[in-house]
Symmetry: D2
Subunit: 229 residues, 4 copies
C-alpha cells in the first residue's frame, strides 16, 4: 500500500472499509430512521456509561505523561469535560431512554464484551504508548461520530430521544471540536518518520474496528454468555 499517512485524512483512507463500515452501520442508520429498538439504544448508552470512566482514565494517563505545560493543560481540560459534562449528559440520556424502554437488559450495568475490548485496548495504549499513540487511538471515536451524524441528520425521522442525540453530533460546535483535535494530531503526525506513521495508522485502524464492535454490541445487546443467561 502506498498511502503516505501524512495526515488524519490519510489515516482514514488507510483504514478503508473499517472506517466506511462505521458510516453505514445499521445502528446509527436505524437510529436516524427512528427504527432502532429503544432497548438497543438503552443498552448502548448503559455501556457508554461504563466506557466513559475508562476513557477518562486514558486521558488522565495522557495528562500524566504530557511533555509540557500546554499538553498538561489540554489533557486536563479534556478530562474535566468527560467527567463533568459527558458522563452527566449520558446519565440524562439513559434516564430519557429508560422512560421509553423501562425494562433493563440483564447485565447492562456491567461491561459487555465490546466494552471490555475497547476500553482495555485504550488503556493498553495509554500504558505502553506515547501521548501521540493515545491521540491516534481516541480519534476514530470522536471523528466518526461527527461524520456519521452529519451524513444522517438531514433525512432523519423525528424521535423523542434520538433526534437530540443526532443533532448534538451533527452540530457545528461538535465539528469544531473534532477539527481542532484533528489539527493537533496532524501537526504531530507530520513530525513522525515512516515507521511512526505506520504504527499510528495501525492504531487508528484498530480504533475503527473497535468502534464498529461497540455499535454492533449495542444493536444486538450482546453480553458474555454467562451473563446473558
Amino acid at each position: 500500500m502506498s498511502v503516505a499517512l501524512e495526515s488524519s485524512a490519510a489515516l482514514r483512507e488507510h483504514a478503508g472499509p473499517a472506517w466506511d463500515a462505521l458510516l453505514t452501520h445499521e445502528f446509527p442508520v436505524r437510529l436516524a430512521a427512528a427504527t432502532l429498538p429503544e432497548e438497543s439504544f438503552r443498552f448502548y448508552v448503559a455501556q457508554n456509561l461504563l466506557y466513559l470512566p475508562e476513557y477518562a482514565r486514558v486521558i488522565a494517563f495522557a495528562a500524566a505523561r504530557s511533555a509540557d505545560g500546554a499538553g498538561l493543560g489540554e489533557h486536563t481540560e479534556s478530562l474535566v469535560n468527560i467527567v463533568s459534562t459527558e458522563i452527566p449528559q449520558n446519565r440524562r440520556l439513559l434516564e430519557a431512554i429508560s422512560a421509553i424502554a423501562p425494562e433493563p437488559t440483564p447485565g447492562e450495568d456491567v461491561k459487555a464484551p465490546a466494552t471490555v475490548a475497547y476500553t482495555s485496548w485504550l488503556l493498553s495504549i495509554a500504558a505502553t504508548g506515547s501521548t501521540l499513540d493515545i491521540a491516534a487511538a481516541i480519534l476514530p471515536c470522536a471523528w466518526s461520530y461527527g461524520d456519521i451524524a452529519e451524513g444522517l441528520v438531514r433525512d432523519a425521522a423525528d424521535h423523542p430521544v434520538y433526534t437530540e442525540w443526532l443533532g448534538f453530533f451533527a452540530s457545528a460546535d461538535y465539528r469544531a471540536v473534532v477539527d481542532r483535535q484533528r489539527a493537533a494530531f496532524d501537526a504531530e503526525l507530520a513530525e513522525q518518520d515512516d515507521a511512526g506513521r505506520a504504527r499510528l495508522a495501525d492504531i487508528f485502524l484498530m480504533g475503527c474496528r473497535l468502534e464498529k464492535s461497540f455499535w454492533g454490541q449495542g444493536l444486538a445487546m450482546q453480553h458474555w454468555d454467562d451473563v446473558a443467561g
Copy 2:
C-alpha cells in the same frame, strides 16, 4: 451469592459456568479426539505467538511494580521463562503444525479480535491495578490449561502434534507450576478484605471469559471483518 472467595478454589467456583465452559470447550475436546482441523490449531498457535509477547509485558509490569526483592526475582524468572522458553516452544509448534497445514489463514500473523481483547485487558490490569490484580488476571489461563489437559489426556487419540501439546499441559511438572502459582496467590488473597476479594474474583471471572473467546477464535479462525475479507 455467598461464596467466601477466600481461595483460588472459591474464585473458580464463583466463576461458575465461565470456568466450566473452558473444560468442555469444543477446541480442546476435538484436539484430544484428534478431530480438530489443523488449520484451526495453526491459527490458534499463530495468535498465541502474538499473545505471548504482550503477556511478557504484563509480567514485566508486575516485576517493575513488585513490592520487594522476592517479588522482583519471581517475576523476572517468569519473564525469562516466557521470552526464552514459551515463545520459542510456540514457534516450534507453529512450524510443526504448518508442516501439516501449510496454508496460512489470512491475517494469522496480526492480532485477531479475541487476541486484541485478551492482551489489552491484561495490559489494562497491569497499567491500573496491583500486582495481585495481575496475578488474578493471569491465573485462569495457566490453571485451566492444566485442568483441561488432565481431563482429556487419558482418552486422547494419537496425533502428530496434538499429543505432545496435551502431554505437556497434563504433566506433573506443569501441575507443579500451577500449584505454586495458586499457593502464592492464595496466600495474598487471604490478606485481602471482602471488597478486595470481590474485585479479584471479578478479574478472575473476566480472565475465564477471555480464555473462552480465545479458544472460540481459534476454532472458527475468526478475524476482523476487514482482514477476513
Copy 3:
C-alpha cells in the same frame, strides 16, 4: 517503636524530628519575621513553578488509577485546581516577588537538586504504588504548610509579599482543605494491615524529608554545581 500508625496523626508522630524540622525551619520562620531574603523567596517560588506541573502529573496518575467514579472525580477536581488555580497563583507570586528582587538567580528556571529529588520521588510513587501510596506521599506538603503558617501567622511582621502568602496557608479555608484530605486518608489507612501502614508511614516520612530539602534549597538558592557556576 510502638506507634500504632492508625491515623495521619500517628504518621506525623512516627515522622518525629523530620516533621518537627518543618515547623521550625529557618525559611518559613524568617519569612514570618520578614527577614527572609527576597532572592531566596524568588528562587523558592521559581522552583515551586517547576514542582507544580510534576505534582499535577502525579495527581493525573492517581486519577488514571482510581478505583471508582468517586476517586476519578476527586482526583480530576484536584488536578484542575493545580493547573487552573495553583500554577497561575504561583506565577503571580513570582511576578510580585520579582518586582522586589528583579535579579534572577542563575538556573532558577530549571529544576534544582531538591526539586528533581522531590518531584521524581512523587512520580516514582505514582508509577509503582497505589493511589493510597500517592495520598501518603502528598500529605506532608499540604498539611505542613497549614501547620507552619498557623504557628507563625500571629506574630508575623508585615511584608509586601510574604504576608499574603502566610495568610493564605493560615486561613480557615486552607485548614478545611487539609482536614478533608486527612479525613479521606485516615479512612483508607484504617483499612490497611500493619505492613501496609508501615509502608505508608515510611512514605509519609520521606515526604517530610523532601519538604525540608525543598525549604533548604530555597533558603540557600542551591543548584547543581555545573549550573551554579
Copy 4:
C-alpha cells in the same frame, strides 16, 4: 550552544563539567590510590544494593514498554543480568568490605538522600518517558564507570577489595558491554529530531549529576538528618 547532539559522544560533550566531574571524583580517585576509607566504600556498596533493585524495576518498565520482540528480549536479558548477577555480586562485595570495615554506618540499609533522588529520577523517567528516554537516563552510569576505571587502573595501588572492583570496570568485557549499549543508543538517537535530541541530552546530563551525588554521598556517608542522628 551548538553541539549537534547526534551521538552519545556529543551528549557527553554537552554534559561538559558534569561528566568531567565523574572522571576526577575524589571517591574513585582515592579508591584507586587505596586511600578511600573502607567505611565509605561499605556505605557506597550498601547504598548500591538499594539502588540496584530500583534500577531493575526501571529496566522492567523498559521491557514492558518495548516496541517489539527484539527490545523485549534485550531488556529481559538486562533485567536478568541485574537480578541474577549484579545484585549477588554486590552482596559478595558488601561481605568482602564488611570483613575489613565491620562496623555498619547508621542507616546504611535504608535509602540515603542521593539514592532516593537517583532511583526516583530513573523511575520517574520510566513512568513518563519513552524507552529511549530510559536508555539516555541509564547510560551515564554504565559508561562513566568504564571510563573512570580505565583512567585509574594503570596506576592503581593494591587493595584487598578495591583492586578487583577496579579491574572489573576496566576490563575489555565491560568495555564491550558499554560499547554495545552506546551503539544501540546512537542508532536510535540518530532518528530523533532536534527537540528529541535536546531532551535526551538533558536526561543524560541529569544522569551525570546524580552519579556525582551518589559518589559524594558514599564518600561522606551522607544520610537524612533524622537518620544520621
